[in-house]
Each structure stands twice: as C-alpha cells, then as structure tokens.
C-alpha cells in the first residue's frame, strides 16, 4: 500500500488534466449520429402516414364516405364498382374472432401452466421454444390451413367450402397463440412472489391462488397481450389470403369464401394497377382503415395498461 489518502489540496494538480474540449466534441458527434438515426426513423413513419393520408384523400374525393361505410358490396375492380368497406371488415372480424376464440383460452392456459405449474427447468426451455414458434412464417400456416385443416374439417362440417373463414381463423389462432401465451406469461411471472405467499399463508390452494390472486394481479398485462393479439390478427395477411379466399362477401358465415382487408391489398397490389387510378387509391383507403383500426387497438392497450396497472412498489 502507498501512503494514506491525501486531501485534494495536497495532490499534485498537474497529474489531472481531463481533455474537456475533446470529450465535448466526441459527445457532440455521438449525439449527432444517434440523433440522425432517430430522426430518420421518425421521418420514415411520418412519410408512410403522409402517403396514406394523401392517397386516402384522393380516394374520398371520388367515393363518398357514406358509400364507403354503408354500401353492402365491395367490387372496386368491376365495371360498376361498389366500395362497402364493411364487406372486408366483416371478413377480418370473422377470422380474427375465430382466431381469438382459439388463441386466448389456449394462450392463457399455456401461460398459467408455464408460469405456475411447470418446474423452473422445464420453463427455461419451453418458453424460448414457444417464442421460436412465433417466428414460423405465416405462409406455412396458410397452406397448412388450406391443404390439411380444411380437408379434415370438410369430413364433418357440411357445406364447408375449399376457401373458408373457419379454417383460416383456427390456424390464425394457432399462429397467434405463442405471442399471447408468451406475453401473458411474462405478466403472470412478474406478479410479486409476496402476493402468492400472502395467499398461501391464508390456506389457499394453488388453484385458488392462481385464479383469485395471480391472474387479477396480472390482468393489465394479460389484456395488453390479448389486444396485441387482436392487432396481429387484424393485420395478418398470408393465412387469410391462402385459406379464406378472395371473395368479398358481407357475411359472418364461417364456411364460405370471404376476403379480408389484407387479402384485398394482396390481390390488388399483386396485379398491375396503374398509379393514380381509383383502383390504386382504393388500396390506400383500405390500408388507412387497417392502420386506424390497429392504431386504435394500440392506444386502447396503452390506456388499459396505464389505467389498471397496480403499483406494487
């Protein structure tokens, strides 16, 4: 050891020469670089939204909002076009609803199992496996629905057509399941251990502790997971395009071909639509509708988490 610590006035001042100018300069450079990336991503988003808005305005200069909202047909590619967006929305709604009926209960069960019942080491590998499942390309799910699930369903559901909302919705649900399960599991796992102990200490069983204490405590996170699932279901494209068909019909019958908002966009954007035509603008109007719906869902989820999150600390 050296001598004891010397107070500041005794230490030799010339040993301490921080280069304030250089560090200020590098600070500024770093700030500029990161700042420009941030600005770039913001501008990209703004650019996309601006394009959507401009083209949507062009669309509505030719098609009235009333027709858009209240027409019961969607035939923009016909010689006598109709623009009833609810035809597409009904299909999106139907497939999403079926998907959620599958994904929410199964996802929650999986989440509770993983978090509360599975041994720690099982959870340690099952959770990442679940998250990998979320990365399976949806096109794979899509042709699985069309080529395997639909033929099986046909054997016992009379009137089921080759393209239908049911099969698409069921498989869409399977595709969403990992997301909902994984996010809900995070929320359930994050419930403080204290709370579980408080329940057990009152003579509660595991089942009572899970349903009466843990799940209510994780509610805001679970709801956020479900809303995110809804947003993904609404925006999902390949499964519904492949398995539900391209047939715009205003119906909630799960056995017949339908066309969702996303599959309409695929259909039109995949063909050759001249820029500046009404057909081209229709794409953006549908895109805008999708954007607004998902945005609302995100805001709802954000609001819900803020409002209902319990503060434990």
């Amino acid at each position: 050891m050296t001598d004891s610590y010397l107070p500041p006035e005794h230490s030799s001042a010339n040993l301490w020469q921080p280069n304030r100018v250089a560090s200020k300069r590098s600070q500024a450079i770093v700030k500029f670089i990161f700042g420009s990336f941030a600005v770039l991503s913001i501008f990209t988003t703004l650019g996309i939204v601006a394009t959507l808005i401009v083209e949507t305005i062009k669309f509505f200069s030719q098609v009235s909002l009333v027709q858009f909202l209240f027409d019961n047909q969607w035939t923009p590619l016909f010689s006598e076009p109709h623009y009833g967006i609810f035809v597409l929305i009904s299909a999106t709604f139907l497939t999403s609803l079926i998907a959620l009926l599958v994904a929410v209960p199964l996802g929650l069960l999986a989440a509770v199992c993983l978090s509360e019942y599975a041994p720690r080491n099982v959870r340690a590998w099952l959770k990442p496996a679940l998250e990998i499942l979320a990365g399976v390309p949806t096109v794979v799910f899509g042709f699985f629905a069309l080529l395997i699930v639909t033929p099986i369903l046909k054997t016992f559901i009379p009137g089921l057509q080759t393209f239908n909302g049911l099969s698409a919705g069921l498989i869409l649900g399977i595709a969403l399941l990992p997301t909902i399960a994984s996010l809900s599991e995070d929320a359930i796992f994050a419930v403080p251990q204290d709370l579980r102990q408080g329940s057990y200490a009152l003579g509660a069983t595991k089942r009572e502790t899970v349903t009466d204490v843990v799940l209510p405590a994780a509610l805001s996170g679970i709801v956020a997971a479900i809303i995110l699932g809804v947003a993904r279901a609404v925006g999902e494209t390949m499964i519904v395009t492949l398995a539900a068909g391209q047939n715009p019909t205003l119906t909630l019958d799960p056995r017949v071909p339908i066309q969702t908002m996303t599959s309409f966009i695929v259909q039109v954007a995949g063909g050759d639509v001249p820029v500046g035509t009404l057909k081209y603008d229709t794409l953006f109007a549908v895109g805008m509708t999708l954007f607004v719906i998902t945005l609302l869902l995100n805001i709802l989820s954000f609001w819900f988490v803020r409002k209902f999150q319990e503060k434990y600390e």
């Binding site: 709370l195 009152l202 003579g203 509660a204 009466d212």
Partner: protein, 268 residues
C-alpha cells in the same frame, strides 16, 4: 436451557421444535434449533440478518414448502402433532397459522375483498360483512377505512396496508400469528400502533414475531430467542440458536456472552 420455557411463562406449548436443522439444497442454513413456543404469548426472534430467523418462522406454517430446495430435519410439532408428518395437509395447517409479512402485501382487490378472501376460500358461511368489520376492528383499521371499503387495498398508506394484512390474517380466526419483521417498512407511529395491536391480539393468539428492533422485542415479547450466524469453511454462513429464555432474562441477565453483546448493541 431450553426445556422449561413454557413453564417459565406459565402456559402450555403451541410449538415444539426438537433439533431442527433447516436446509436450502445441501446448504445447512440453520442448525440445532430447540424451541418451545408458549400459547397466547408473544415470542420474539432476534439476531443479525441472515442468521435464519425467517427460515425457522416460515417452517411453522410450512410456507417454506413453496421453495423447492427447502428442507427440514428434526421434529416440529404443533399441539403435539408433527406438522411435517405425511398425514398433515399444509393448506389446513396454514389456515390455522396466520402470517404477516415484512413488506405489506395486500392483494390487488378492494379493502373489503382483501379481508373476505381468506374466509371465502375457506368456506365461511356466516355473515361476511360482520366478519370483515370484526377483523378490521381487530386490527385497529376500521375507523380509517370504513367509508372506503370498496377502494383498492393498495390505495392506503403502508402502515394501513400492514394493518390490513393483519386484518386479513385474523379474519380466518387462526390460532397462531407469525409475523416476519412486520414493522420494518413502517414509520414509528404506525409501528407503535402495530405493537399496541399485538398486545391486544395476544389475548387470543399465539404470536411469534421476528424483529430487527431490540427495543421492540423487549417492549412486546414474553419470550425471546436470539440467533446468531457463524462462518462455515465453505465461505457461507450458518445460523444457530444461541439462547432462548424469557425476554427479561435475555435482556437483563443472559447466560451467553454473544447474547449480552448483541442486546447491548455491541454488534449486529
């Protein structure tokens, strides 16, 4: 030195621990615990942190069953029954042995539901309003919350939350209350209220309290157990019971030097 403690305060014993060795995995965390906890008295556990007070306490209601690696050797009986016997249902045991934790942990439910929860899950068939009021009065919280029973249990102050947790524990009419540093997160005034409450509660309940605060132990308890920790060759710590005697004796005339040092504030 441990044998006649119950006789010393003049009641029968609730718990009896004989050569309790408490393990986490293969690590012996607390060794050689012999205790007799008298009924309807307050027994305090004191000692430096990490010496195993919580561990010993959490085995009285088998809450340590929730930690997969936790294990006990020796014999722990409650009213003569070996609580680790296969025939004993831990859920049923916990219904009779309530617990209050270090950090207030009300459920994310209303004040009313926090108190009613234990009664509901245990199949209480009587009038719930009466039960909730009685428990909240019992924990000296009723006057402060009677107009906001529907509010969240998390919306009240820390001291009130802790008394809510006491109300929740006594609502199911247990026989014992285990309290693990119940005042460590509270301000002095709330602490005093909880201490007064304990004096009131001990008419009906056997209480075991872990505390860091020696004044608190000397103020509230009838019996005191002093634990200490020794270094192990593997670099860890192993807790053990140094001395267990009436509180008077522990604070005024302990038989061990370590106890004398600890209660006079020379270490810990």
């Amino acid at each position: 030195m441990h044998s006649n403690s119950a006789a010393a305060v003049g009641t029968s014993n609730a718990f009896h621990v004989e050569k309790g060795n408490y393990y986490y995995g293969s690590v012996l965390a607390v060794r050689d615990v012999f205790l007799e906890i008298p009924e309807k008295k307050i027994t305090a556990f004191i000692g430096p942190s990490g010496c195993g007070k919580s561990t010993v306490l959490r085995c009285f209601n088998r809450l340590n069953d929730l930690i997969p690696s936790a294990r006990v050797e020796g014999k722990i009986t409650y009213r003569g029954v070996d609580i680790y016997d296969k025939s004993v249902d831990a859920t049923e045991l916990r219904r009779r042995i309530g617990m209050v934790f270090q950090k207030p942990n009300p459920f994310p439910k209303s004040i009313y539901e926090n108190v009613a929860y234990g009664a509901r899950i245990n199949g209480y068939k009587g009038d719930m309003d009466v039960l909730v009021e009685r428990a909240l009065r019992g924990s000296a919280l009723w006057d402060e919350v009677k107009d906001k029973l529907k509010d969240s249990g998390l919306s009240i102050s820390g001291g009130q939350q802790q008394r809510l947790c006491i109300a929740r524990a006594i609502a199911i009419e247990p026989e014992v209350l285990l309290m693990d540093e119940p005042c460590s997160a509270l301000d002095p005034i709330s602490t005093l209220r909880v201490e007064e409450l304990m004096q009131e509660l001990k008419k009906h309940y056997t209480i075991i309290i872990v505390t860091h605060n020696m004044q608190q132990a000397s103020r509230v308890s009838d019996m005191t157990a002093f634990y200490n920790a020794q270094a192990t060759d593997k670099g860890g710590k192993m807790g053990y019971l140094v001395e267990y005697a009436p509180t008077q004796t522990i604070f005024n005339n302990p038989s061990q030097v370590a106890t004398q040092d600890y209660v006079s504030g020379r270490f810990g």
